[in-house]
């Protein structure tokens, strides 16, 4: 089965120091198209990296500008909104922070950082609804079991309580670097290995960590879609493939896997649409298009 094989192999490659061969393969694999021929005017993953760097440098206005571009390009991406929230918090634009965190919570109602961030923004705005967030965090702490980040909950709760008591005190949290790229890198490589072993749930958790570092990077999003798909969560998978394609409309892997997902759902018309896009993206032909085509021809995964 073509696609999983790619991932299996990618897992092997990831284990080698400096697997540069495939970096080139990806760009020049016979279907190169000029970035200027397509794609958004801002690259969301790059804007995300810029926003992170600006946050580190405490240039919150620049961070907010870049984060805004991320959310404009990929509005369904949780990390973009959280980053925008953090940037606005740093810039003390509490209304902006509130809006960003509200959007984040819409996408992920259980995101602790987004809940904490919204609570903080509301506290600064002296909005009594800040209490709701505090209550939510406390309820979460009470039922915090396996897989729940008790320590983070504790610190968010404490900070929100402080802010409610003294709404003008400076926030301590922004003094710590938000996310480390190296940590994201390690998480990503872990995730590839886990997918390799078929441990999709654990892989997804690691991919979340990677995504926090890299933002809406189409490769990471494509992998998330793949893991969800393998777990049978087609709708969630679709969401990630769509985000990947919003970030990079010609992303070959995302087009292929999204097309395969459509085949699995029996949507051959939709799959053919993906194939047509893939063919446009691969001027000189590419394995992704060939693989998807064989899925469509077989009406399911070929040779599974």
């Amino acid at each position: 089965m073509g696609s999983i094989r790619v991932l299996l192999l990618a897992g092997v490659i990831a284990g080698f120091a400096g697997g540069a061969a495939l970096a080139a393969g990806s760009g020049g694999g016979g279907g190169m198209s000029l970035p200027s021929e397509s794609g958004p005017s801002y690259d969301p993953a790059e804007e995300y990296a810029k926003a992170l760097a600006a946050l580190d440098a405490r240039d919150f206005k620049a961070a907010a500008r870049s984060a805004q571009r991320v959310t404009d390009a990929v509005p369904q991406n949780l990390d973009g909104w959280k980053l925008l929230g953090a940037a606005q918090t740093g810039a003390e634009n509490w209304k902006g922070a509130r809006r960003a965190y509200e959007r984040a919570i819409k996408i992920a109602p259980d995101d602790l950082n987004a809940r904490g961030g919204l609570g903080m923004a509301l506290a600064r705005l002296k909005d009594p609804k800040a209490r709701d967030q505090l209550d939510w965090l406390k309820a979460r702490s009470a039922s915090c079991g396996a897989g729940c980040n008790a320590e983070l909950l504790r610190s968010l709760t404490a900070e929100l309580e402080r802010a409610l008591a003294e709404p003008t005190a400076p926030s301590a949290r922004l003094d710590q670097p938000l996310i480390l790229a190296d940590a994201g890198d390690a998480a990503y490589l872990d995730a590839v290995g886990l997918i390799n072993e078929g441990r999709y749930e654990v892989a997804l958790a690691r991919l979340d960590a990677a995504r926090a570092a890299f933002g809406p990077h189409p490769d990471v999003l494509t992998y998330q879609g793949f893991a969800h798909r393998k777990l049978g969560r087609f709708e969630v998978a679709e969401g990630f493939y769509r985000q990947a394609l919003a970030a990079a409309p010609d992303h070959r892997g995302a087009l292929e896997y999204y097309g395969e997902l459509k085949v699995e759902r029996g949507d051959l018309v939709g799959a053919r649409r993906m194939l047509a896009r893939l063919e446009r993206a691969c001027t000189y032909g590419c394995a992704e298009a060939e693989t998807l085509r064989s899925w469509i021809d077989a009406g399911g995964g070929p040779g599974r």
Partner: protein, 320 residues
């Protein structure tokens, strides 16, 4: 290393690991990890002399048989040998073809694929990197044999070649089962590589003319193919051969635009071939006629292209 570079490095590793296309605008933080300028640079030993490794290639030692049917079969094999899409999975995605290792049908002393090679000119073709079926769990790279070397030095008897090559494509490289005529072509091609047919020069410049000839020969093979599947693969091989010209003209936007337009027309021919629609020969003929002006235009700018060794040596190396 500052954070920005670290992040770019990390992204680069991600990109490497996943091996997927990134249609990203290359600038800023990502500038340091854009793909290598020429695809083959990705499997070049570090420190390799770029002008030698990318500017020259071993000459091909190909017998010309009297039997026209055999000659046609050899041409089919020759095109397939150079087509990355013959191989499947990660090899195809990386852009590797038989010819990446067996340059000009011989060997490739510059070949070094991370995780696949021990030293330059070696490769492990039984690694799970490329194959689930034959992955043996140990890295045991072997020297890439010169397929045009003395027969006695080769391990595989000519009679065993068809089965051997099918195993290579389908099992070692996880490729889809190729049409029978393509498999036959590959073994006919490999059997026709012979020291007696070697030109006096051991190597020659990589040139526009050579790459254009590859395109034309693949299309001629498409026109002679008896089944639509083989014809389709041959048009695909011609399309893949055009890419090798494209990357050498990457600094010349007008030429690459024209090349891409020509490639899209080949893609349309390939789609027609796939359905077995009649008129492929005619379509190929028209394409070849139309491409003459493109060929002239490319030739006029060859001095500015990456076919020129002096330009090659200025390429940025993108290896960690």
């Amino acid at each position: 290393m500052d954070r920005r570079r670290r992040r770019a490095r990390a992204l680069s590793r991600i990109r490497s690991a996943i091996g997927l296309t990134l249609a990203l605008t290359a600038s800023g933080a990502l500038a340091s990890d854009t793909p290598t300028p020429l695809r083959a640079m990705a499997w070049l030993a570090p420190g390799a002399d770029l002008a030698a490794a990318l500017g020259r290639q071993p000459t091909e030692c190909l017998l010309k048989p009297d039997d026209p049917a055999l000659a046609r079969s050899i041409e089919i094999g020759r095109a397939a040998f150079r087509d990355p899409l013959l191989l499947g999975g990660q090899a195809a995605r990386a852009g590797l073809s038989c010819e990446s290792c067996h340059a000009g049908g011989r060997d490739n002393p510059h070949f070094r694929f991370p995780g696949l090679s021990a030293g330059s000119g070696t490769a492990d073709v039984t690694t799970s990197l490329f194959s689930r079926v034959r992955g043996n769990g140990v890295l045991d790279p072997k020297p890439i044999p010169n397929l045009a070397g003395p027969r006695a030095a080769l391990k595989t008897p000519v009679t065993a070649l068809p089965a051997f090559i099918r195993g290579l494509v389908v099992e070692e490289f996880d490729g889809a089962e190729p049409p029978a005529a393509v498999l036959k072509g590959l073994s006919d091609y490999v059997s026709a590589l012979d020291p007696a047919a070697c030109p006096s020069a051991r190597d020659e410049p990589v040139s526009l003319a050579g790459h254009l000839a590859d395109v034309r020969r693949a299309l001629a093979a498409a026109a002679t193919a008896i089944d639509p599947q083989t014809a389709e693969r041959m048009v695909g091989a011609a399309r893949a051969a055009l890419f090798r010209i494209d990357e050498r003209y990457q600094a010349l936007p007008a030429e690459t635009r024209a090349l891409r337009a020509a490639a899209r027309r080949l893609a349309a021919l390939q789609a027609a071939a796939r359905t077995g629609a009649p008129g492929l020969d005619q379509g190929i003929e028209i394409w070849l006629t139309d491409s003459q002006s493109l060929e002239r235009r490319l030739a006029a700018r060859e001095a500015q292209s990456l076919y020129v060794p002096a330009h090659l040596t200025r390429l940025r190396r993108d290896r960690p």
